[in-house]
Symmetry: D2
Subunit: 479 residues, 4 copies
Amino acid sequence: MALKSPEAFIESLRDDRRIHMNGKWIEDVTTAPRLKEAARHSALTYQMGRDPDLKNYVVSTCPETGEEIAAFYRMPQTAGDLLARRDAIYQVSRYGGGVIPFVKEIGTDAIFALRMITPQVDRKFGTNYAERIKAYHHYAQANDLALAGAVTDPKGDRNKKPHEQENPEVFLRVVEKREDGIVVEGAKCHITSSPVSNELVVLPTRNLGAEDSEYAVAFAIPANAPGITMIPMHEHHCNEPVDRPLSTHHPIVHAMIIFDHVFIPWERVFLCGEWEFSGSLVLSFASWHRFTGLCYKGPVAELFLGSAALMADFNGVAKTSNVRNKLQELAMYIESIGVYSRMACYEHQIVEGIAMPNSLHCNVGKYLFAENYHTMIKYVQEITGGIGGTCPSFADYQAPELHEKLERYLCGRSEISTEARIRVIKLVRDLTASCDAGGHMFGTIHGDGTLEAQRMMVLRDFDMRPAIALARRAAGLDE
Amino acid sequence: MALKSPEAFIESLRDDRRIHMNGKWIEDVTTAPRLKEAARHSALTYQMGRDPDLKNYVVSTCPETGEEIAAFYRMPQTAGDLLARRDAIYQVSRYGGGVIPFVKEIGTDAIFALRMITPQVDRKFGTNYAERIKAYHHYAQANDLALAGAVTDPKGDRNKKPHEQENPEVFLRVVEKREDGIVVEGAKCHITSSPVSNELVVLPTRNLGAEDSEYAVAFAIPANAPGITMIPMHEHHCNEPVDRPLSTHHPIVHAMIIFDHVFIPWERVFLCGEWEFSGSLVLSFASWHRFTGLCYKGPVAELFLGSAALMADFNGVAKTSNVRNKLQELAMYIESIGVYSRMACYEHQIVEGIAMPNSLHCNVGKYLFAENYHTMIKYVQEITGGIGGTCPSFADYQAPELHEKLERYLCGRSEISTEARIRVIKLVRDLTASCDAGGHMFGTIHGDGTLEAQRMMVLRDFDMRPAIALARRAAGLDE
Amino acid sequence: MALKSPEAFIESLRDDRRIHMNGKWIEDVTTAPRLKEAARHSALTYQMGRDPDLKNYVVSTCPETGEEIAAFYRMPQTAGDLLARRDAIYQVSRYGGGVIPFVKEIGTDAIFALRMITPQVDRKFGTNYAERIKAYHHYAQANDLALAGAVTDPKGDRNKKPHEQENPEVFLRVVEKREDGIVVEGAKCHITSSPVSNELVVLPTRNLGAEDSEYAVAFAIPANAPGITMIPMHEHHCNEPVDRPLSTHHPIVHAMIIFDHVFIPWERVFLCGEWEFSGSLVLSFASWHRFTGLCYKGPVAELFLGSAALMADFNGVAKTSNVRNKLQELAMYIESIGVYSRMACYEHQIVEGIAMPNSLHCNVGKYLFAENYHTMIKYVQEITGGIGGTCPSFADYQAPELHEKLERYLCGRSEISTEARIRVIKLVRDLTASCDAGGHMFGTIHGDGTLEAQRMMVLRDFDMRPAIALARRAAGLDE
Amino acid sequence: MALKSPEAFIESLRDDRRIHMNGKWIEDVTTAPRLKEAARHSALTYQMGRDPDLKNYVVSTCPETGEEIAAFYRMPQTAGDLLARRDAIYQVSRYGGGVIPFVKEIGTDAIFALRMITPQVDRKFGTNYAERIKAYHHYAQANDLALAGAVTDPKGDRNKKPHEQENPEVFLRVVEKREDGIVVEGAKCHITSSPVSNELVVLPTRNLGAEDSEYAVAFAIPANAPGITMIPMHEHHCNEPVDRPLSTHHPIVHAMIIFDHVFIPWERVFLCGEWEFSGSLVLSFASWHRFTGLCYKGPVAELFLGSAALMADFNGVAKTSNVRNKLQELAMYIESIGVYSRMACYEHQIVEGIAMPNSLHCNVGKYLFAENYHTMIKYVQEITGGIGGTCPSFADYQAPELHEKLERYLCGRSEISTEARIRVIKLVRDLTASCDAGGHMFGTIHGDGTLEAQRMMVLRDFDMRPAIALARRAAGLDE
């Protein structure tokens, strides 16, 4: 099969999927407000493959089937492959105006994790999950599917394990095993781009014990399968596109997904009860996904620096030391993201023949990104000035009765057009201080696990033994 | 005259003022979307005076006229008076759901600054500004007016002085002096609550030299005076009130104001050409206004801590050490705001018989508040969890087809109702991650001057001599 | 009795106390290296009372006996008394070159804590501790004693309670009760100035349960009592005084004290077994002692700022923005210490007729001081330049063969003498990078409890209820 | 020639070099206190080559001469060569107890910088510096010399250029050109390990203009050449080795060096008047030296983490969350150093056939290391406890009269020997709070340029164009 066209992708979303938003059922995701723009934004990943200059970033070849495939589906086997995946994610995010068109990355993160872990499950239990996920991988890439990865359960009381919860389905679980497949019940939260994806790849969200074996379930399912309902967050969006240049054209939608007695045929089931592997599956997915996070956050950070540098220039203060200090901090932030993401490629780990991004580097890089995100927003807002919070709308700026005055009063230094200045102010507002910006804050902190989870992972992954040995020797303990 | 009723206040705003928002003229500020809510929020300051339990915070007596007046108008003469002003601002902010109903504070900040500086101008130049501002003060309090303070000019190229600008009116200036008054031309930016105020008190925005004497102008003017146009920022606001519990009921509007050949009669002019005093007037206003900032930011910080503590409790994680650390940081943030604001009262300065909040303490307190604001938002968002970014709307929660599922899946620990949890999630979203939250970020950083301005003020106000003397002695330089 | 002269104080230390340092018994604390200087430094607190200009800071009157006493002994009853105690500690520290002559402050912290808590013990148990501590207080002030406060036990395994420890005496305890008194066994650590104090006031170090009642013991004892051995930390001190201008003249010594079957007569016992009050006694002492900490740390911070400002000036870089930023941070650090210490006076608590410094403000202030101490050191070192680490000794500078060269090469800007520059470099070195500076780092972090302990105290003392009530109301939970 | 033995190295230092320390001339650097230990510490770099297990790290082959040489002399041509240099520096630092034996690294940093820049000078001016430095490089490696790099001038008034200074020789300059060579006059500061090096490689310290051409001079010279006087900082060092386990055995000495009419033959002159290349020479050296810094700081950070982890374990608090948080910060600190140093190898730059560590990565890595150094010290001290500041000396611990008591009272958890705990406490003290630790603080902040210099370099090296292009596109400016 061939790579899909953007038009065919959008058409593929008209499949009677059940979406409920802001109190109403959505008839057609490709025409409903906000979802429509999200669909178009996601389609950019398909469109980029048609651009002769950029195609090489997002089109690749499958080493297993020899087919031409979307680069995101290419399972990395070398540092070079990982760097190519990094480039694909980074470049498609730049193509998306700095915002990743998120429809293949997380799904393939989940596939790669399954391809790493299922051979181990099969060896222990004699199952044939490895073959199934390989077949599904080939099916998805051959059909150039948009795939969401669905991992996070609602969780209820954070102090309790799944089976201890008052409502046992605040973690998704298998409620029936049939000859032809399984039936699951539960929900998944914050599922990025799910309303504009073709299928969902579902994984457990945490390490599980024997008493929680029915929660150890992984599978794939079309987004319009019976029993699935998606409830996207309804963002505010009254303003004109020109007042929200980023979020209007490049929205990311996340949905809560309800699984109401959903049937999964066996060939789409990749784990079912083997709780012993839930932990390593979660960790493996986390490494892949934090790597994805590092790759696509680069352009976000570039938007921060770029818009701040433009505002500093337009306001005539680019050379003052306090502005330069902030630009330098923003530059170091980009450097940090780039260094850790590329380092995760150079110093990768090979597991089951797959080159996996270095877990420690991914963790630390993602932690640094998220830990400092709000401070970077502060720097951009500081450089922009109060006008970022109070600038008249573009419609006011263009109103004949006001235009001449606003043209004169909203100017920066004399070489810069007032319109250009207003446009960058609007970009900063949308980037750092809109509802979408607020959503990105939550996504940055909580996507791929909390800051606290990453702290724990650092201690888990970091080998302290050389440090302790050196200190013991220096203290004279081992002489 | 008596203290105004909330209804009379709202009626007073129907005065044909010229407001242009999002491309259209506003007919009636008391019925237009968003402005209507802003008017009602502002009216809370009048309503509180009718509440027998709270009246004592916001009603006081004028020491000069003996009249019963709104407490905000009371010119402080002692530490006790300053503490009472602090309480008035703090309590009315709590009454406003944590958001200050901002219609008398900034105006009186400007009046107090003028009452401190004009006697000095009069002594030097034989003018009679002190009498005029006193008369205006008494007029405003007698009519219980809502007053905005208008200070910040658009500024153009930040590297140039007013007269060096390409457009000389990017700073507001006197363009004509007439027998009966003056005519001004220019604009003011970010003028808080101006669309819902009765009058504007206008001050220069910076220290000026002799060549910029026409910019040294201060005056008062009704908001509906000919030539005045206000252009409020149009915030996004599609969601239902229940999804935005804070910003729907308690919005603050800021406007850019254009002064197109506006006439001011002499009795409302409080400075006109005496550039030598522009610097001290600006500094004096800054101290008053930073004090105001410290007083009303307490409840904002309390909302941060309170909502974080509720989320931690609802999610069942209130006892974990990382959550406790964040709650402790939030508590210290409130403590810092409270300590510096009260200290500014205890250790006040007396100028022209007026007790002025300690400038250094105000500066440092405001700096700490603004410097750490984004980090506090991060803590609240960390404790809340990813659901803060993706929670279904209340309408979805209540939709009959989904309600039972969402009731079960959006729960926290079992003793807490799901609805309560959703409501607090919505509060956090609105408080930290909505367009209004974004506006507050800009307001926090840039209101009352930038962080950089406050840094400079600290070095200016701080007496380094004891430290240098001690170091010289310790180094043996002065033996 | 009269206030003691500095000579009499030094003479009073020649009492055959048992001190072991660096492998040897010390014959006479007033002549042994380092201890001799410590004794002279401590004597400054007596000397200052003889200085007509400064006497008023350190001499006061006892409200109970009417005697003239050292100000440190004055039990505060009003905000003014607390401010006077603050001034006494602050000024004596400036008199000590920026380093507190620590011989009455901690002892009186302990006395005040005992005078607050013992009446409560007596009311519950019918004991007469209050009378005893009052008598001891009057005895100590009448004899103008130098008193150390001894609180911290060695602690052993930090996870275990006293009675659970392998060695039950890693917490000091009563091992025998006799008719005439008690016998204690154990040790106390980090006891500031104890080798140059006349007596020790001993308190328990932690909250205790019923099973640890034998550890609930408080008493006073002369430093030369049988069974007491003090082991001071031996600091490095090879350099000439001029190379270490601060630590040579103003050292603080801390000792570990071993109590080997030490007998205490009943009239000096202030708690013995009443474990129910150990917690409140500890907390009360902590508040007093954190207040003391805040008062004496002001001059330390002033030395930081003063020496940094001198170096910046001498090097010709006082106006550069990065230097100004650091000076501003140092100024804010001093401001923070001053504000919280004075606020603790203004907003004090009255307990048993005693005005006690506000516990929350003391905690937060001390936390901020300690939390930021290392960063302030960094700023001073950054401004000083690498020469702070490598400057030739003063003896080299003065060597005839080298002097002319070093005079020319170690210069700063031309108006400044090279010798003055070298002296300030030496001060910075001694203040931030010597062994004494290292000792002060540990003292800052761990004195008056760890940063972690202060974090816990903040959560304990801070009233979250108003914040939670406001958030509940804003979320619509309590309508 | 063969690689030198440690004994031969030490013998080579007995060459009548002129060293003045603490007011006296040093007769023999190999027997004088402190310098003797510094010589032995430096000799470790020779000794390691004799260890069969470690030899491969520090012995290599010259690609130009085919000789067996010390690895530090190997001029990198590939990423692998750079990684090998990194390993050599890292491993020899671990061999030095965590402290680098600093006698070849900086000298070769200077040689590599000269080998990169001199070909450019020669091409422009027809000089033959490239040949000279190559010959010197081969000479130095063939004789396995210990080389110090001498760069920093005293600088006088930091606001003035060299020729503007009151004393024109506060920057070292050429005062005479003769047929056989040049004569220089001036001084160099903070010259690491110079008292225990064989030769000095001297570079200019800053970018120079035409009017400062006589300051544009680079050369090599034996440490005992006529006219050279070295003045090392005299560190305090009274304690017994066991109380200072690190600094006794592994001291680093820095000296100020005076050049009093020192003659340099032409074949040792590598730049003389070509001011146009001073800037690039300085930058090139800076990159090499920051890379060196990153490589040897890893073991320092490991000592921090290792000693903190041991203390946490010994005290029984390794599992508490606040301790774990600090250990995690320390681990991330090591990770940061390692990642940036290795990344500088992977993403190197090729200049004149030499693989040069990536300048941006080196800069950022070094900045992060230095910026956070004091905070890491704080964490180690927090975990250690107050005993780090007050622990009795080892001699006291071993004194028969005290031993039994101290054995019991200085214990940690019961499985740990008291002696082991004391030894680690002493290590922490020496590592973070001794005079040597203070010297390292200055070295960390100011070595390889100040934090401010690194900030400027980041802005200089970082390519902002992609960020600005992305922001312009997102704002709709370039459509």
